[in-house]
């Protein structure tokens, strides 16, 4: 029930200003194809960010999502290309594979009671190894368009909006409702606030932890299906550095990295902001190397806004 929904308002304002400026500053920002590209590009990060938000709210973190994504990508790509799996079984396979990896993280974090950053640093390496084993030394080329419905092409859109992003928003709404109104969803905040006290209060801490990491894994699986989308190429380096992008989106969205506070809606907006900035740099013809600089600046601005709000609360 705590009122943390301040960041969303700030983000909406920032996005509105940015979009208006870009709309006036360029001829093409509001072209459907541009907005579609932004949404399709941010969808995987948003989808994973939904899970990451829950993980961070419990006081944890998952830096293995990039490697887990690589595992699911190569697995699903090979199944689709070599075993001719159709859409639904392929997606199910992706979700299950992602879920298994996530659950492994969850079990290690919950029952090992070691800080999540250590465990997931470990599994980051292990999952990458697993992915490389499945790649068998070759990238997966010529993946057919089985998952087109989730991809960035025309088949991947309804009413002009990419399915992958629609899916992300739907899932985010579901997760928001769960974390806001379901008792076990509230428990995630309690665990992030004070895990030993949560145990004493009778909250099934381990179950919840395994749950959030497993859900994050499932979402990684879904994101992988969106990345494969219309097919093409899955390279061995897939997913490298993804964890930082996801964490950046979550943090810009106002979730406290210390746990106990945060919201999924902020994450959706945070990812959108990152996507907008990335796209804007190209639209404006600026050097693409500067994108990272702007993302860094926005992270600081977002956290700065949060700090200022929190200070004001404290003073009241």
């Amino acid at each position: 029930m705590s009122k943390t929904e301040g960041q969303e308002v700030v983000l909406i304002a920032v996005l509105a200003v940015l979009w208006l400026a870009l709309g006036f500053g360029t001829d093409t920002f509001f072209a459907a194809s541009n907005l579609q590209n932004i949404l399709a590009t941010v969808a995987p990060v948003t989808i994973i960010g939904i899970g990451m938000t829950a993980v961070i709210v419990t006081g944890g973190i998952d830096v293995s999502v990039g490697s887990a994504l690589a595992v699911v990508l190569v697995l699903v790509a090979k199944l689709v290309r070599d075993s001719g799996l159709t859409l639904v079984p392929a997606v199910v396979a992706g979700l299950v594979a992602g879920g298994v990896l996530g659950a492994l993280n969850g079990v290690l974090v919950a029952y090992g009671r070691v800080h999540a950053i250590i465990i997931t640093f470990g599994t980051l390496n292990i999952f990458r190894f697993v992915a490389l084993q499945i790649f068998e030394g070759k990238e997966v080329a010529g993946v057919p368009g089985t998952l087109e419905l989730l991809g960035g092409g025309a088949d991947g859109r309804s009413f002009g909006i990419p399915h992958s992003w629609l899916l992300a928003v739907l899932l985010a709404a579901g997760m928001w409702f769960y974390m806001r109104h379901a008792p076990t969803g509230r428990h995630l905040y309690a665990i992030g606030g004070n895990a030993p006290a949560a145990r004493l209060a009778g909250i099934r801490v381990n179950r919840r932890l395994v749950g959030v990491y497993a859900v994050t894994g499932v979402l990684v699986g879904l994101a992988a299906c969106c990345v494969i989308g219309g097919g093409g190429l899955v390279a061995q380096s897939a997913g490298t550095g993804l964890e930082l992008q996801v964490i950046a989106a979550v943090v810009i969205g106002g979730t406290s990295i210390l746990g106990g506070r945060g919201s999924v809606l902020g994450t959706v907006l945070g990812a959108l902001l990152v996507g907008t900035v990335t796209s804007a740099v190209t639209l404006l013809g600026w050097r693409s190397e500067l994108t990272a600089l702007f993302i860094g600046v926005f992270i600081l601005l977002a956290v700065g806004a949060d700090l200022v709000r929190e200070r004001r609360r404290r003073r009241e």
């Binding site: 029930m1 109104h181 008792p183 509230r186 309690a190 006290a197 949560a198 009778g202 609360r313 404290r314």
Partner: protein, 479 residues
């Protein structure tokens, strides 16, 4: 041990050790229906450990626990809660970012259609707060914005929120003022009438006669006595706790002289305190006394400089402060006793390890700290001994001004005596002491002057020899 028929909760032969430390050495303990059972003992006697075993937060090495004749699962807090055992731990187990209402119902939320029933929770929490003397509107506030005392009462409300058959209170009164304690006792009595068994842990021995039916005394992990409360005097209990007879004379000190070592002029902080002015001379103990939330703690912290003030002046000599919350603000738990004692008085570039060791040894001896030595980890010490370590840290430098916030909170009578006499020594050597305490007898005994704080203002000033009742009335306001 024979289990009497009306025993609600009974423990037999409970043993527990932590490494080489034996916390409990075969304890038998029982609580009857509708009984308030006082559990007392010196620091480290094993009270909290016993309670954690009942609540399932710890697993015993040996022994069994029965509730109404059925054996309780070991080390399972969920099972204990389900069986009707509600526990208020020594440190409040709350969630700072959640509201009071959510904290009260956490883990056992009120539901409607599978969702949290927010209005119902808010209403019920409000009622519970009211029964403990807190304003119901607090239910919507975030825990982090509450004072420690308010938080303590919220923990009690949390324990009362569900139909409990056994209620365990581990030192609930340590940071409460008498007025709040009265409200708390009122709540306990009404539970008692409903047949709930209550375990009540306290170092304030004078409370025991008011509220308990029976008192069990623990010493070094053993039960040394268990009697009806009416058969025991405060003095007798104290003697049982420490194992020897007590003498209670207070040393008279010379009147303070000289220029003030601490001058506070018109100190103000929005919403906390305003117009605070006083001075403390070398060799003088001035006490700030007030009910919970009155602002005494905030004033002390602002004087020390660890919390901000909006305006006003503080002129002081070298100052040290004993913080009020030992676990959070006092000890460096994973570090050694020597580290803890020396950390505030490091000088120059290089660490002087030999000096650190000898200093630590000197204070361990002088303050009779029970520990294996300077290199023992502070976390392995009992609460009272940890408190002495933190106090020692403030004394290494021989500060001109010493601020003490709740110096004997959660400390047993023996250690309390020792700390009081230490404070006497310090003042005798010319240190100016500002004492913030909610323990009125302590204030009456130590202070040369008492400044009563109400609503963030100093509303009355008393000299030595004032009547306890007058001070209390001033703090509570005339009603």
């Amino acid at each position: 041990m024979t289990t009497t028929t009306d025993a609600l909760l009974s423990l037999t032969g409970i043993r527990k050790h932590y490494g080489g430390v034996y916390a409990l050495r075969g304890v038998d303990f029982e609580v009857r229906t509708g009984e308030v059972h006082g559990l007392v003992g010196a620091n480290g006697a094993g009270k909290s450990t016993l309670i954690k075993i009942i609540s399932g937060a710890e697993k015993p090495d040996d022994g069994t626990a029965h509730l109404n004749g059925t054996q309780l699962a070991e080390g399972d807090t969920v099972a204990a809660l389900k069986a009707g055992i509600a526990t208020v731990y020594q440190d409040p187990q709350l969630f700072g970012e959640l509201t009071v209402a959510e904290n009260v119902f956490v883990g056992r939320e009120l539901r409607k259609h599978g969702r949290v029933d927010w209005p119902q929770q808010r209403r019920r929490a409000g009622q519970l707060l009211e029964s403990l003397g807190l304003p119901p509107k607090l239910a919507a506030r975030r825990i982090a914005d509450l004072s420690v005392a308010e938080q303590q009462l919220v923990s009690v409300a949390k324990a009362l929120a569900h139909e409990a058959r056994v209620l365990i209170l581990d030192e609930p009164s340590a940071i409460l003022t008498d007025r709040e304690i009265d409200t708390l006792f009122h709540a306990i009595r009404s539970l008692k009438e409903r047949g709930v068994g209550v375990v009540y842990v306290s170092h304030r021995l004078d409370e025991l006669a008011q509220i308990t039916d029976r008192v069990t005394v623990l010493r070094d992990g053993n039960v040394v006595a268990s009697h009806a409360a009416k058969d025991l005097t405060v003095r007798r209990i104290a003697e049982l706790m420490v194992g020897h007879a007590l003498d209670d004379d207070t040393a008279e000190r010379a009147a303070p002289t000289g220029e003030p070592a601490l001058v506070v002029a018109d100190l103000r902080r929005r919403n906390r305190f305003t117009g605070v002015s006083f001075e403390v001379r070398p060799g003088e103990i001035v006490s700030l006394f007030g009910l919970v939330g009155s602002g005494t703690g905030s004033i002390a912290r602002a004087v020390h400089g660890v919390e901000p003030a909006d305006s006003g002046q503080v002129r002081k000599g070298q100052t040290a402060m004993l913080p009020g919350d030992r676990a959070r603000q006092g000890v460096f738990a994973t570090k050694s006793v020597g580290f803890n004692i020396s950390i505030a008085s490091l000088k120059g570039l290089w660490l002087k390890r030999k000096r650190e060791r000898t200093t630590a040894e000197e204070f361990i001896r002088r303050m009779r700290i029970k520990t294996q030595g300077p290199s023992a980890l502070v976390a392995t010490l009992s609460g009272g001994n940890q408190q002495k370590v933190v106090l020692a840290r403030q004394l290494v430098e021989r500060p001109e001004v010493l601020i003490l916030e709740e110096p004997t909170q959660g400390v047993d009578v023996g250690a309390k005596e020792e700390i009081h006499s230490l404070v006497g020594d310090i003042v005798g050597r010319g240190t100016a002491v500002l004492l913030v305490s909610s323990d009125l007898p302590e204030v009456m005994r130590l202070a040369d002057r008492i400044l009563v704080v109400r609503g963030g203002r100093i509303t009355a000033r008393f000299g030595k020899g004032a009547a306890q009742a007058d001070v209390l009335a001033a703090a509570a306001g005339d009603e």
